[in-house]
């Protein structure tokens, strides 16, 4: 039982991580032509999981991707694709960001899929028809 709830928590953390990344990638794309803008992204979910004190619900707090906020679950870092830097100081590569977008989509689908299956298993163990 407890194991299953951990799984649910893990799945919802992954979904939160994916949507936080989605926000950052969308910001990057919106600023694809803004002079001096640096592309940002979150570290890998596996990395966050290994570093952090487990997966907590705190990460969905508002402002957790704000660069100025103090303590938070996820920390955005600058990422730049090789050769993406333009003379006006912008480091966004649309291609790189689209690939990140596809990756995010996949992770989000995975998280929701796991969540749904876990719920199904819980329901099955309760002996109810789904």
């Amino acid at each position: 039982m407890d194991h299953n709830l951990t799984l649910l928590r893990l799945a919802s953390s992954l979904a939160a991580h994916a949507s936080a990344r989605q926000t950052l990638v969308t910001e990057n794309i919106a600023h694809a032509d803004t002079p001096g803008y640096r592309a940002r992204d979150l570290p890998d979910f596996a990395e966050t999981l290994a570093d952090g004190p487990g997966f907590t619900a705190q990460i969905t707090r508002r402002g957790h991707i704000d660069l100025d906020a103090g303590a938070r679950g996820f920390e955005a870092e600058e990422v730049a694709a090789f050769g993406a830097e333009t003379p006006n100081g912008n480091s966004v590569s649309l291609e790189d960001q689209m690939i990140r977008g596809a990756d995010i989509r996949q992770n989000h689908d995975l998280a929701l899929g796991v969540y749904r299956k876990t719920m199904d298993i819980l329901r099955a163990s309760l002996g109810r028809q789904r």
Partner: protein
């Protein structure tokens, strides 16, 4: 969910900014042969839309480059030497700019669509 609405606001601001840029580009192309016309430029800036980090267009500036001197003694504006000042619009630059705006607009639209779909599949969890 709040995250996703913010994402959509950011993508929408990106689309609005690129559309403004595309409009200026077509104004420039339309006025390529207007005597004395200076090319309009706009730069993008970071801004906030509610609590979403968004993009906005800065003030519209005029290109200070030399106006093209065209030799046409029959032109009503031509001086004694037969030259008049045309616009400083470079068609090639404008077309390239419009292409880039179009490409960025599309990327923003993709992200908007993806955020929408992610929100949809999240809400689908409640379906049963």
């Amino acid at each position: 969910m709040n995250e996703i609405t913010r994402t959509m606001a950011t993508a929408a601001s990106g689309m609005a900014a690129q559309a403004a840029r595309l409009r200026l580009s077509s104004e420039n192309i339309a006025n390529a042969d207007t005597p004395g016309y200076r090319r309009k430029l706009v730069s993008f800036e970071e801004t906030m839309a509610g609590d979403a980090r968004a993009v906005a267009t800065g003030p519209v500036r005029l290109d200070e480059a030399e106006l093209a001197r065209v030799h046409d003694p029959n032109h009503p504006l031509a001086g004694a030497d037969g030259y008049y000042d045309s616009s400083n619009v470079n068609m090639m630059v404008e077309i390239a700019d419009a292409r880039e705006a179009n490409r960025s607009y599309e990327a923003n639209l993709r992200m908007f669509e993806q955020a929408r779909q992610m929100a949809g599949s999240l809400l689908d969890l409640l379906r049963r």
